[in-house]
């Protein structure tokens, strides 16, 4: 029952957001602010995540395939394909569930419990349009951008790790990566990051928007936003793979 009620409130918040997404002038300024916070400010951490994901995958694949009679280019194929189709979107999604999801939930939660949302409403603002719409839009617009960053740095990290460890020459890595490069994988990765962006920001907005009970309540909704964000990312990842592959 509680779950159904939550689902209902979540859906109606999204419905309100959808309806008020036409009030562009209300959230235009906030949108750009959020695009920077969600997108531009997340670029460094995503670069870091990408580089380490790619390099760790390369080293470990090389280690695992050391004694098998498998061409070295296979490692490039494994690493780049895994990154493009899965890791770039999912790992950055999980990281951003922490970074973006927590920030959004805390921001909105604090605004709720300190009556700032009521203040906005009392001034005649549509608080959903003002607060929720730009955050969700920023999520679905910037996550694909961050997917690109994660992919590029992931594959770059893989090549670099292979080169510096001496396990996979860049030429072999690239040969494998190119041999198994299917544009559909990239489209699929984009789609995933788009969905993840929506999931993280909408759940965080929901949890923050309906936070109650002072500082403790804000903490609780932040935790829930992060945890639920991660869970639903994994769930969505599974569903997308089951439906589209």
């Amino acid at each position: 029952m509680q779950g159904l009620k939550e689902l209902g409130r979540y859906s109606s918040l999204l419905y309100q957001a959808l309806r008020s997404s036409t009030e562009f002038s209300t959230y235009r300024k906030n949108l750009f602010q959020e695009l920077v916070k969600v997108g531009t400010d997340s670029v460094p951490i995503i670069m870091l995540v990408g580089i380490f994901t790619g390099s760790v995958m390369t080293l470990q694949s090389a280690y695992q395939l050391e004694f098998a009679f498998i061409p070295l280019s296979t490692i490039g194929a494994i690493v780049s394909e895994s990154i493009l189709i899965e890791l770039a979107a999912v790992i950055s999604g999980l990281v951003l569930a922490g970074k973006v999801g927590a920030r959004v939930a805390t921001e909105l939660g604090t605004m709720r419990v300190s009556e700032q949302i009521d203040a906005l409403e009392s001034m005649g603002f549509n608080s959903v349009s003002f607060l929720v719409v730009p955050r969700v839009l920023a999520g679905i617009m910037m996550f694909p951008v961050l997917y690109v960053v994660a992919s590029i740095f992931g594959i770059g990290g893989g090549i670099a790790a292979g080169y510096f460890s001496g396990s996979v020459p860049p030429a072999d890595f690239l040969k494998g990566a190119r041999m198994f490069f299917y544009p559909w994988n990239v489209v699929f990765g984009f789609l995933k990051s788009f969905v993840f962006g929506f999931i993280i920001t909408s759940i965080a907005c929901y949890k923050g928007f309906y936070a109650r009970g002072g500082a403790e309540g804000v903490g609780k909704s932040t935790t829930e936003a992060t945890v639920l964000g991660c869970i639903y990312i994994l769930l969505a990842d599974f569903l997308l793979a089951a439906l589209l592959l």
Partner: protein
């Protein structure tokens, strides 16, 4: 003129109050008093439809605000200025921008006109010097005054104060009380003051609404209150450290 008719509200199974009815004439200053947790703030949030009742009506100039479309509700809300309990200043922007905030979205004023208007508003509350301060640098009393400056910036017909003197030292509380009177006289504003501070009630109120035992316990003018022999009302008044005798 605001007419509250048979308002009933409960959160889940918990009844807040039922059948609350009274009338606020233009130009009046009404004090809503009652014990902490008796639903004074909840009542205030019904008057401009921040909350929706289980049943009953709030008529603003004869129109029930709960029958309106959201867009019209928002237009009605702009007739109200609210000073929230915790001031509800937006902590992401400075003092000046907090006050200018509604103007930027709801007026077509130029930057100069906005500046003049904000500074005039700050003059009323004697905070011209703090315009460029961050809200976190302000003391509790200053925050209330900035909140008041923001509440009057759109030149509302009604102004609602939620616990304006709570948490302030007596001297600062008196300054706020003086401001409430100043606002009412200067702008011929109808005021609704939520408070349990009898000192404040005696200084500012024309009429008093007493919420008690999940209903409207008593309603009348200040003079009537002084002569009233209602037991619950007397208990509440005499519990205060200020005696009316």
């Amino acid at each position: 003129m605001i007419e509250i008719k048979n308002l009933t509200k409960s959160f889940g199974d918990m009844l807040v109050w039922k059948d609350v009815s009274f009338r606020i004439e233009n130009g009046d200053t009404i004090a809503v008093i009652g014990r902490s947790g008796c639903g004074k703030s909840v009542l205030l949030k019904h008057i401009n439809a921040l909350l929706t009742p289980d049943s009953g009506e709030v008529l603003i100039d004869g129109n029930n605000i709960f029958d309106m479309e959201y867009v019209d509700q928002r237009r009605i809300r702009q007739k109200f200025g609210i000073l929230f309990q915790g001031s509800a200043l937006f902590d992401s922007i400075n003092t000046f921008e907090n006050i200018a905030f509604p103007l930027r979205y709801f007026s077509n004023l130029t930057e100069n006109e906005i500046h003049d208007k904000v500074m005039r508003s700050l003059e009323y509350v004697n905070l011209e010097d703090s315009a460029q301060k961050e809200t976190s640098e302000l003391s509790g009393g200053m925050r209330k005054r900035v909140g008041l400056a923001r509440a009057i910036i759109l030149e509302p017909e009604y102004i609602m104060y939620d616990e304006p003197t709570s948490g302030l030292d007596p001297e600062t509380a008196n300054e706020i009380n003086d401001l409430i009177i100043l606002m009412a006289e200067t702008f011929d504003i109808t005021s609704i003051v939520i408070t349990h501070d009898m000192h404040s009630v005696l200084r500012v109120a024309d009429k008093v609404a007493f919420l008690h035992d999940q209903k409207l316990g008593w309603f009348g003018t200040l003079e009537e209150m002084k002569k009233s022999d209602d037991k619950d009302l007397l208990n509440f008044i005499t519990a205060s450290e200020y005696s009316i005798k």
